[in-house]
Amino acid sequence: MGARATLALAVSAVLLIVPWILPSFYVGIFAYAGIYALAAIGLVLLLQAGQISLGQAAFMGLGAYGSALVARAYGVDSLLTLVVSVAVTALVAAAIGYITLRLRGHYLPLATLAYGIALASTFTAWHDVTGGASGLDKIPPLGLFGYMLVDDRLYTQLIWIIVLLAVLGLSWLRTSRVGRAIATLESHDGMARSFGVDTTILRVKVFVFSAVLAALAGGLYVHLLRFVSPSPFGLLTSFKLLIMAVVGGPVSAAGGVVGALTLESAQWALQDLLARWGASGNLEVIVFGIILVVMLLRWPQGLWPAVERFLPRPALRSREGEGLPTRVLQADRDAVLLDLKDIGIRFGGLKALEGIDMVLKRGEFVGLIGPNGAGKTTLFSIISGLQRQTSGSVTLFGEALPSSHSIVRRGMARTFQHVQLVPELTVIENVALGAYWRTESGFVRGLLALDAAENRQVLASAQAALERVGLGAEADLLAASLPLGKQRIVEIARALVADPQILLLDEPAAGLRFSEKLTLVRILRQLQAEHVTILLVEHDMELVMGCVERLVVLDRGRIIAQGSPADVQANPAVIAAYLGGSRDKAA
């Protein structure tokens, strides 16, 4: 057992003993802190995925009302109603998430705010069922088969067991296949889709899980307080949960716990202090607002990194043994793999590409060159499904181009001109993303750490790929800590792990040192020998001319020349384009 795990176990033991030794008043606070921690953990996961919810408390409310109302009205065991109510909340969240999570950026917070208010208003308005604003008392305590959990200390311990399990599960998830994919959601959506992550569905899953934690928290809340009314599930609680997530640190599930404990203790300390100074409670909201703003301005990572600095590093996940099986490609050099017909794209009035016809055959090594702004990267985006052409068609392996996250499954992988590594992940984790489509452990398996065997294979493949590109020693560094040149090579390693038949390379040599370029060329030659088809965009003419079999030259969105490197070099149109004289010719 690693030092970290031992420490975690010790802290858990303390947290579970605490309810039995605290004075009874503090037990209550500790219980509610645990409940808020649970909901805040859900928010932390959302924030990690680049999402936000200003309606988290509404899901708490759904969980609470669902369980309380059924248990109260029909005398069903409340543990069962709690489970059912969490499940129903998950369904509601899935529906809401499916609608709202397709929205990107600024719509999402608004949407969450809106359903948060709408749900909270419903709790009040649906008076006959919910008891309205006055609330309902006589909610049964948590119970199963006649056993009633009425001891506050025992209840508190139960809450914290659930909190700790959630933290444990999420820390497992974090290093799993799905966890790595979740890390891409914040700002690498296109890259994630290129490697087979259906980001929309994954977002919905994250959202649903976060709502499940909230609903569970709400259910635990209501059977502890044994009174239900709408006010604890309003906007203010959503804001409070957000503050907890931000203060604790939206980088780790443990941050949610730290945040909840910090904020709850701060709240009680502040109340005492204010009472002593004779100040009225108004200041509390102001102080919390200031804490929130200052944290985000100064310490956007929250308190958790400061805590984590003193902790032993987590044990690395095993990467021993065989990697994933790779496919052997046939040497059928006549098969057309990728066929572009009359591709055009317009941005407003600007024709970025027009009339592009191009074919890639198996095992071909084609260079795509052209001056800056010629449309090379746009063409790449179209081929990899991240942008849709305005006219023309793309055929991949004889079929129409599938949606962007399915392309890698067909056998096409790519690198990016602007390096798209997830800075918070280690190098090997970034590379492992390449194998996403080749593995299948899902969200739940990740949570329960049932993915060990598969994950070991993935990491073994990733390690092998890193060694192949000469970065084996850097595997466990954070991606952000590598110099740009090495980051580009990591991109190639990631594409290799995807086991592609077609490889699209967007300026892989930019910023590379000479020795690194040599490695790159060596790898490219190897790949060619393995019959991998390569399409290379590159400005380093020496490298391009030395490698490729065929060149395609783009200028101002049109193909101006195609052919062997020697022919193209001699083509006057190409010379004119590169010397800037093409304007006259085009006119």
Binding site: P23, S24, Y32, S134, D137, F227, S280, E284
Partner: protein, 394 residues
């Protein structure tokens, strides 16, 4: 965490030695009111009155104990109310708890005070806080109930021969209390409710609801809200052409109602406690001197033009607690024995508070009545020339 409990014990020890040094035991009155949140308009005056009481009582040496007031905020949130009440009970070892401002918060703490066996005096309006009495052994309250006030108003409607009434209320627990009361009273008195509309304090437009109510052609409208919305709804009713009588709950019985509603609210009828109309009471009414004294004190101390009904509720609650505690001590209760004295104080509230003249009325608690008020303490007031006047001399 042991440290905490040791520290608490040490602190408790210091407190008790300090009390001994003063040669008198200490009565601890803990209160939790909504100083912030939606109910802060009620909670702040309540806190003020407790402050005033503390200042007034400090000079009083005739009591057999010194009094410590501990006041917390619940932000109108049930969770915080429960935690704060627990704190009062276990940390501050309060003998009596005064909690809480709103009905939901008062409901939420029932379980806590009942289990801990601590007398609680609620400041909420809702009848459900004290009934059924057998489940509410430890709970009392000082504000008149919606039920009591609405009964007075509906009686007046019946007297005028009105058969149909429409309801307009806030969508929070306050408005709901009015709705519940009106439903039961109207049914008992044979008045039909022909419309029921809701609005919130932060709404910007009340015309649609007013329109709907007018179209139900009621003989009278009952508005259960607080200013500004109660006054704004009243104006909206006038604007859409409703001309019948408009009744209001005690929630509108403050000066903001008139300063917002201006001429439009002239003639509005309010079910209220005596505070609002005490100047119009005959000198023979025992309430008059008590309220006059309190009003003068409060208005001077907090520099307000005219006291409204909320501070009187916590003032009464504090006084009831002190009176009961004094009786209990006289009967031999030892305040240092917190558990026993809590029970003794509860018994004295239930059985010892008779014809007790407060600001909100004349209290007679009994084992079957934890409100203690009767028709002598409810009045109807009418707005006349920008002032609240007594509507019918009782």
């Amino acid at each position: 965490m042991r440290v905490v409990s040791v520290a608490a014990a040490v602190a408790a020890l210091m407190v008790s030695t300090a009390a001994m040094a003063a040669d008198k035991p200490e009565l601890r009155i803990g209160s939790v009111v909504a100083m912030t949140g939606p109910a802060s308009a009620l909670g702040l005056p309540e806190k003020n009155a407790l402050e005033l009481l503390q200042e007034q009582i400090a000079a009083d040496t005739s009591l057999p104990f010194t009094i410590k007031f501990i006041t917390y905020d619940d932000g109108s949130d049930p969770t915080k109310a429960v935690n704060n009440v627990r704190k009062l009970i276990t940390e501050d070892r309060a003998h009596v708890v005064i909690c809480c401002t709103t009905t939901p918060t008062s409901m939420a703490i029932l379980e806590t005070v009942t289990q801990a066996k601590v007398p609680n005096i609620s400041l909420a309006l809702g009848q459900s806080v004290i009934e059924p009495v057998k489940d509410r052994h430890w709970i009392f309250k000082t504000p008149s109930t919606d039920q009591l006030q609405v009964t007075g108003l509906v009686d007046d409607m019946v007297k005028r021969g009105i058969k149909k009434v429409a309801f307009l209320g806030l969508e929070d627990s306050f408005g709901e209390g009015g709705w519940i009361a009106l439903q039961s009273v109207a049914k008992a008195k044979g008045v039909e409710i022909v419309a029921s509309e809701r609005f919130s304090r932060t709404d910007t437009n009340f015309t649609p609801q007013a329109l709907k109510v007018r179209q139900a052609s009621p003989g009278a409208v009952y508005i259960h809200a607080i200013p500004p919305s109660s006054a704004l709804v009243h104006q909206a009713l006038k604007r859409v052409g409703y001309t019948g009588p408009i009744y209001h709950s005690g929630g509108s019985a403050n000066n903001a109602f008139i300063s917002i509603g201006k001429k439009d609210v002239d003639g509005a009828l309010l079910g209220t406690t005596p505070v609002l109309v005490y100047t119009d009471l005959p000198d023979s009414n025992p309430l008059k001197p008590v309220i006059s004294k309190f009003a003068a004190l409060y208005e001077k101390r907090f520099n307000v033009a005219k006291v409204d009904i909320f501070p009187g509720q916590s003032w009464d609650a504090g006084n009831v607690a002190i009176k009961a505690a004094a009786d209990a001590v006289k009967a031999g209760a030892k305040l240092d024995d917190v558990d026993a004295s809590r029970a003794a104080i509860r018994d004295k509230i239930e059985n010892g508070i008779k014809e007790f003249v407060g600001v909100g009325g004349i209290f007679n608690y009994s084992p079957t009545d934890h409100l203690g008020l009767d028709a002598r303490s409810t009045f109807i007031s009418v707005v006349k020339n920008d002032e609240f006047r007594l509507y019918d001399a009782k």
